[in-house]
C-alpha cells in the first residue's frame, strides 16, 4: 500500500471529503449574502452537471440539450408555487418525476442516434425550449415569466434567506450525490459504463442496452430537473430567455472542464459555470466573452481530462515520487 505523508489513498480521499464538507458547511457564515447566493448557484449547477455526467461521462451519450430539462424543472417549480401555492420543497420531487419521464421518453427515440447525431437531436430540444415556453403563455407567463417569493428559514432558524437556501440546496445536493455514487458503484452503474465501453459485449453479458440508455437519460434529466427547480426557487424568477441554448452549452462546458465521469468534476464544473463569466467581466467589461473563451482554451489545453482528471494525475505523480 502506497502511503503519502503516512496516509493511504483512501485516507486522503476521506480527509478531502471531510475538509470539503467542513468548508461547504462554514462558507455562508464567513461570506456575504451575495456570495452565499453565488455558491448556492454553484451547488445547483453541480447537481445539474452530475446529471449530465451520468449521461455523457458514464454512459457516453452526448447531450447539448440539458438546459431544456433544467427549464422543465424550473417551470414545474414555478408553476406549482405561483399558481397552486404549493410549498417550495414539494416542487423538487415533482420536478424530478416530470423530468425523469420526459428524459426517458426523449431517450427512447434518441436510441437510434449515436454520437454527433444524438448531440444534434438534443440541440434541437435546447433550441426549441424558449419558444415553446413562450407559446404556452397561459401557463408559463409568456415572455414576462413568473416571479416567485424567497422562502424564509423554517423553525425560526437564525439564518438569512440566502443562507437558508444555501443549506437547503447543500442538503439536497448531498443526498443526490450520495444516490448517484451508490448508483454508479452498483450493478446498474457497471452496466451503464459497460455500454459506453463496449456496447456489443455489454449486450452479450445480458445488459438490455436500449432500456439502460433510456433509463440513464431519464435519471440524468431528473438530476438536471431538480437542479432547475432549485434554481427557480433561489433566483425567484423564471423566464424563457434564461433557458437559451447557451445554458445547455454551459452545462456541457462545465461537465467537460470539471472532468467527465467524475463526482468532484461536477463541483469544479459548477464553480467554472458560475465564476468564470464573472471573473471575465471583471477583467474586461468590453469583451468578457473573449476572456471567457481564453479561459476555456487554457483549461482545455492545460487539463485535457478536466480539472478532476488533472488533480488525479497530480496525486498519482506525488504517489509515484513517494514510492521511488
Amino acid at each position: 500500500m502506497i502511503r503519502i505523508a503516512g496516509l493511504t489513498r483512501r485516507q486522503w480521499a476521506a480527509l478531502a471529503l471531510v475538509l470539503g464538507l467542513a468548508v461547504a458547511f462554514l462558507l455562508p457564515m464567513v461570506v456575504t449574502d451575495y456570495r452565499s447566493f453565488q455558491f448556492t448557484l454553484v451547488i445547483i449547477y453541480a447537481i445539474a452537471l452530475m446529471g449530465l455526467n451520468l449521461l455523457t461521462g458514464y454512459n457516453g451519450q452526448i447531450s447539448i440539450g440539458h438546459g431544456a430539462f433544467y427549464a422543465i424543472g424550473a417551470y414545474t417549480a414555478a408553476i406549482m408555487m405561483d399558481r397552486w401555492e404549493i410549498a417550495y420543497y414539494w416542487t423538487l420531487p415533482a420536478a424530478g418525476v416530470v423530468c425523469l419521464v420526459s428524459g426517458f421518453l426523449f431517450g427512447l427515440p434518441a436510441l437510434r442516434l449515436e454520437g454527433l447525431y444524438l448531440a444534434l437531436a438534443t440541440f434541437a430540444l435546447a433550441v426549441a425550449t424558449p419558444q415553446i415556453l413562450k407559446y404556452f403563455d397561459s401557463w408559463t407567463g409568456g415572455v414576462q415569466g413568473i416571479v416567485l417569493f424567497k422562502p424564509d428559514p423554517p423553525f425560526g432558524l437564525p439564518l438569512s434567506q440566502d443562507q437558508w437556501l444555501y443549506y437547503f440546496s447543500l442538503a439536497i445536493a448531498l443526498v443526490m450525490f450520495w444516490a448517484a455514487w451508490n448508483l454508479i458503484h452498483s450493478r446498474i452503474g457497471r452496466a451503464i459504463v459497460a455500454i459506453r465501453d463496449h456496447p456489443i459485449a455489454a449486450q452479450t453479458m445480458g445488459i438490455n442496452a436500449p432500456l439502460y440508455k433510456s433509463m440513464t437519460f431519464g435519471v440524468s434529466a431528473l438530476y438536471t430537473g431538480v437542479a432547475g427547480a432549485l434554481g427557480a426557487i433561489v433566483v425567484q424568477f423564471v423566464a424563457p430567455d434564461s433557458f437559451s441554448v447557451f445554458l445547455s452549452i454551459s452545462f456541457l462546458v462545465g461537465a467537460v472542464v470539471g472532468g467527465l465521469a467524475s463526482f468532484t468534476g461536477a463541483i469544479y464544473g459548477g464553480l467554472f459555470v458560475v465564476f468564470i463569466p464573472n471573473i471575465s467581466e471583471e477583467i474586461s467589461q468590453a469583451a468578457p466573452w473573449a476572456i471567457y473563451g481564453a479561459f476555456l482554451l487554457v483549461f482545455m489545453y492545460v487539463m485535457p481530462s478536466g480539472i478532476a482528471g488533472f488533480l488525479r494525475r497530480i496525486g498519482a505523480w506525488i504517489a509515484r515520487r513517494n514510492a521511488s
Partner: protein, 278 residues
C-alpha cells in the same frame, strides 16, 4: 427487464431438464442456418447438434463462416434462414441481451472488454444476467442490493481465482497484456454461469505453453464447472485435442461432423486445409 431474463432462464431450465432426460434433446441444435451479406453467402444451410456435457470444436479455414455462426448464436447477426434451438427452445426471435438467459456465454475473437474497468468489475458485469438490482434500489443502497452485490463479488472473485488472475483483480484491463486480457474475457463469460460457452479463437496469438494451459483449462471448465463448450479455431491442433466432437466448415458449408479422428481423416477436410495452405 433483467429480472425477466433471470426468471426466463429458471423457467427454461425447469422445463428443459425433464424433457432432456426423456428425449435426450441436444443442448444446442443448429438447423439449416443460412446467412448472406449482399452477394456473399457466409453460411449455407449449416446444421449440427451439440449434446450437453461435450466439448465440441468448430474448425474451418479463415473466412469459412465460423465467427458468423457464433454471431448468430449470440443474436448479433440475424440468419436469413434456419433455426437455432437451446434445449428445444428457439432463440431466433430473441434479443442479444436475452442470450445469457438461455445459458449462452461467449468470448470474442478480437477482445471485447470494458477498457476503463478493473478486472474485478469486468468479471462482475459477467454476473449481470444472474442479478436483479434495479435503478432505485441501487441508488438507495437497499439491504437486499448490498447482499446481492457482495454475492456477485464473491462469485466474480471465485472465477478470477479459477483463472489465476488474483494478482491483477484491481488493475484496469487496458493496461494488461493480451494473454491476460483473454483470460479476463473467459472469467467474465464464466461469471454468468452459462450452460453453453462459446469460445471464438481462444488460442489466437498464444504461444505453445499458453495453448497447453488453455487445453487444461477447457477440460477444467467441462469437468469442474460442468459447462458444455463450443470452441472455434482455424488451427486444427487445439480443437482436435480438446474436442469430443468436431464440425468442419468451408465456404459456409458443413463439410464434416464427427469424432476428431473421423474429421481429421475426412478427404474434404484435408482438401480444404491443404488447398488453403498450399
Amino acid at each position: 427487464m433483467p429480472a425477466a431474463t433471470v426468471s426466463e432462464r429458471e423457467e427454461s431450465q425447469a422445463m428443459a431438464t425433464p424433457e432432456r432426460t426423456r428425449t435426450a434433446a441436444p443442448l444446442l441444435k443448429v438447423e439449416g442456418i443460412t446467412v448472406r451479406f449482399g452477394g456473399i453467402v457466409a453460411l449455407d444451410g449449416v446444421s449440427f447438434d451439440v449434446e450437453s456435457g461435450l466439448v465440441a470444436g468448430l474448425i474451418g479455414p479463415n473466412g469459412a463462416g465460423k465467427t458468423t455462426l457464433f454471431n448468430c448464436l449470440s443474436r448479433l447477426y440475424k440468419a436469413n434462414e434456419g433455426d437455432i434451438l437451446i434445449d428445444g427452445r428457439s432463440i431466433v426471435g430473441s434479443t442479444p441481451h436475452a442470450m445469457p438467459g438461455f445459458g449462452i456465454g461467449r468470448t470474442f475473437q478480437n477482445l471485447a472488454l470494458f477498457q476503463t474497468m478493473t478486472v474485478l468489475e469486468n468479471v462482475m458485469v459477467g454476473c449481470h444476467s444472474r442479478t436483479r438490482a434495479d435503478f432505485l434500489g441501487s441508488a438507495l443502497r437497499l439491504p437486499w442490493i448490498r447482499s446481492e452485490e457482495s454475492r456477485a463479488r464473491e462469485d466474480a472473485i471465485e472465477m478470477i481465482s479459477f483463472l489465476g488472475l488474483d494478482d491483477v483483480a484491481h488493475v484496469t484491463v487496458a493496461s494488461l497484456p493480451f494473454g491476460t486480457r483473454k483470460k479476463v474475457e473467459l472469467a467474465r463469460a464464466l461469471a454468468g454461469k452459462p450452460r453453453l460457452l462459446l469460445l471464438d479463437e481462444p488460442a489466437g496469438g498464444m504461444n505453445h505453453d499458453a495453448v497447453e494451459e488453455l487445453i487444461a483449462l477447457i477440460h477444467d471448465i467441462r469437468e469442474r464447472l460442468g459447462i458444455t463448450v463450443l470452441v472455434l479455431e482455424h488451427h486444427m491442433n487445439l480443437v482436435m485435442r480438446v474436442s469430443d466432437k468436431v464440425i468442419a466448415l468451408d465456404f459456409g458449408r458443413k463439410i464434416a461432423d464427427g469424432t476428431p479422428d473421423e474429421v481429421r481423416s475426412d478427404p474434404e477436410v484435408i482438401r480444404a486445409y491443404l488447398g488453403k495452405d498450399a
